[in-house]
Amino acid sequence: MELFFEGLKNGLAMGSVFALMALGYSMVYGIVKMINFAHSEFITIGGFVAFFLAALFHDVLGWAYSVGMLLLCLAGAIVVCVIIAILTERFAYRPLRKKGSSRITALITAIGVSYILNGILNAINNKQLQFPTFFDNDTAFIISIVVTAALLILLTFFVKKTKVGIAMRAVSENEEAAKLMGINNNFIIALTFVIGSALAAIGVVIYLLRVPFFTFELGSSTIGLYPFVAAVIGGIGSLPGSVLGGFLIGILKEFAAVFGISAWSDVIVYGIFVIILLFKPAGLLGKDVREKV
């Protein structure tokens, strides 16, 4: 029984991390209709910035150490991730949209970008680096749940009630009609990437709070495709769906670890992924979009 609760707690903590990253994937896919494979590299970059800042300012802040460091790392990671995201969108993805390329072309370009970023990051260093711990496990757990819930609520409000949020949904529906309304598509799409990458940054910092090890393969291998799988399971394009998917995957993974079968977690996660997609291709909370003839 004790194992169960430990697994549950770890699962929720891990799940909140996956949920945040899944939200990032989901927003971009929902609005720009492309799978941003490079998202995993944004995660690594965010983690790197956080690590760098933590190492740099390790001794500076006094009593506000924990909270201060957390905010500092968050801020730094978000800023850098957002910049990288904007550059990627501007130089790699926007020209494709202008040309009217197919989705697969966009997907392959995203893979290309992720390889480039991965290569650059790995060239810097390929050791595993220790991240300083700011909080004990329980506090970190609470922080992650609170942050995830807060962001979910914020995002939902943004997308449903604000002008720009509604404009984002309009752009995802019909780009041409949106232009006629005076909506600047390029700006909206860039904004989407900004939000997505900011979420990735927040997610990775929260992750590092509990698992304080950083490698340059963090986004691509350690965390890997799990957030993406989470987004798809929950229903890509659906915000609560991504969060649900994130928690589900997190719990699956941690239960596997707790019961000693973490070597099989890939099989379990991808297995559930395939099964869910077979019976509900739009994801658990997704909308079934039928092709109109």
Partner: protein, 361 residues
């Protein structure tokens, strides 16, 4: 494809090319350079794998991102069959009738090799059939790509965890059952032949119709789902063939068949041109050459050698931005074009000759 007109010249050219290829293989095999043997072998094997992927991506138009998994299946199956045969027959018999004293193979050896490769291919084809039936009917586009990737990762994970199938270190055919450029060359020719037969048959044409427009194809009486599954199975079969050959080439760990390999194959196919079979072969050559020769040269900066991913990424992005159809697009290398080029050159030379005498005057 290779020839628009099935005339004598094209047929002869193709035969000559095949013979040249095989002769080249024999030459390399008996040569001194281990590196070149390795390079040529890998090019041939990867060509087969790329062709398999191209059938699904280029001809069927559906993106499968998980062919690494099928290669793993072929590899594992081949190893298991070979080991089983060896255990059944016994090591002494092997020394007598299978190997030659120089480490090559006797006819019986070649027979065993061919059969384990073919059986492995068929087994992989069966798995492909199951995956195809489950996945292709319900999923499209990006989703299909990710699911096939997920399935391949499931295969990798299972293989990694069960020692009998490989464990983390992987299994290999620890008896040298040969495997040489010549065999791979023959298999490549066989694969091309099989694929061409498939594509020219009604199944192949149905596949192309599905690529262009699912609904229109259905309206024309094409059983869309059936065609898709059939093509996918065929592709898995060829991929399994490549995987089995890979087992004779070298020993690999299951993890090497994961995401990286699948994406490498995708890069090869996209670079060569979706739907272009000769394109895949050419780009397989380029990629393998880059990896095994270029990156190992001492005059190449360390950066490229240890970070091939950056170059892959740059290649992908550049190609997608500037020529998303790849080197050859959907066209094939055609003898007509080749000879046409010849003619142009000839004309140019003749023109020059005609002019020079005048100038002398």
């Amino acid at each position: 494809m290779l020839f628009k007109r099935m005339n004598k010249r094209n047929l002869v050219s193709t035969l000559v090319a095949i013979v040249a290829l095989l002769a080249g293989c024999i030459f390399v095999q008996n040569g001194e350079s281990l590196l070149w043997t390795k390079i040529i072998s890998k090019i041939l094997i990867f060509s087969i794998a790329a062709l398999a992927l191209n059938v699904v991506c280029g001809c069927l138009g559906e993106f499968a991102l998980g062919h690494g998994g099928f290669l793993l299946l072929g590899y594992t199956a081949a190893v298991l069959i070979a080991t089983f045969t060896k255990n059944m027959i016994g090591a002494d018999f092997y020394k007598e009738f299978v190997y030659t004293t120089r480490g090559g193979l006797q006819p019986l050896g070649y027979l065993i090799l061919t059969s384990d490769v073919l059986i492995a291919a068929v087994i992989t084809g069966l798995f492909g059939f199951v995956v195809g039936i489950i996945a292709l009917g319900r999923l499209k586009g990006d989703y299909l790509a990710i699911v096939t990737l997920g399935v391949s990762l499931i295969f990798v994970n299972i293989t990694k965890n069960i020692p009998a199938l490989g464990g983390a270190q992987g299994i290999n055919i620890n008896i040298n059952l040969g495997g040489s450029p010549l065999i791979y060359g023959i298999m490549l020719v066989v694969s091309i032949f099989l694929i061409l037969t498939f594509m020219k048959s009604r199944f192949g044409r149905a596949t192309l119709a599905c690529r262009d427009d699912n609904i229109a194809a259905e309206a024309c009486g094409v059983a869309v789902n059936k065609s898709k599954v059939l093509t996918f199975t065929f592709s898995a079969l060829i991929a399994g063939l490549a995987g089995a050959l890979y087992a004779h080439f070298n020993a690999f760990k299951p993890i090497e068949f994961g995401q990286d390999l699948s994406i490498e194959l995708l890069i090869i196919v996209v670079l060569g041109g979706l739907g272009s079979l000769t394109g895949s072969i050419i780009s397989a050559g380029i990629i393998v050459f880059y990896n095994l020769w270029f990156c190992t040269r001492s005059w190449v900066p360390e950066f490229f050698a240890s970070n091939p991913k950056i170059i892959y990424g740059i290649i992908l992005v550049v190609i997608m931005l500037f020529r998303s159809s790849g080197i050859l697009g959907t066209a094939e290398f055609s003898w007509d074009w080749f000879y046409g080029l010849f003619k142009k050159l000839k004309n140019k030379l003749i023109k020059n000759k005609k002019e020079t005498p005048k100038e002398v005057e």
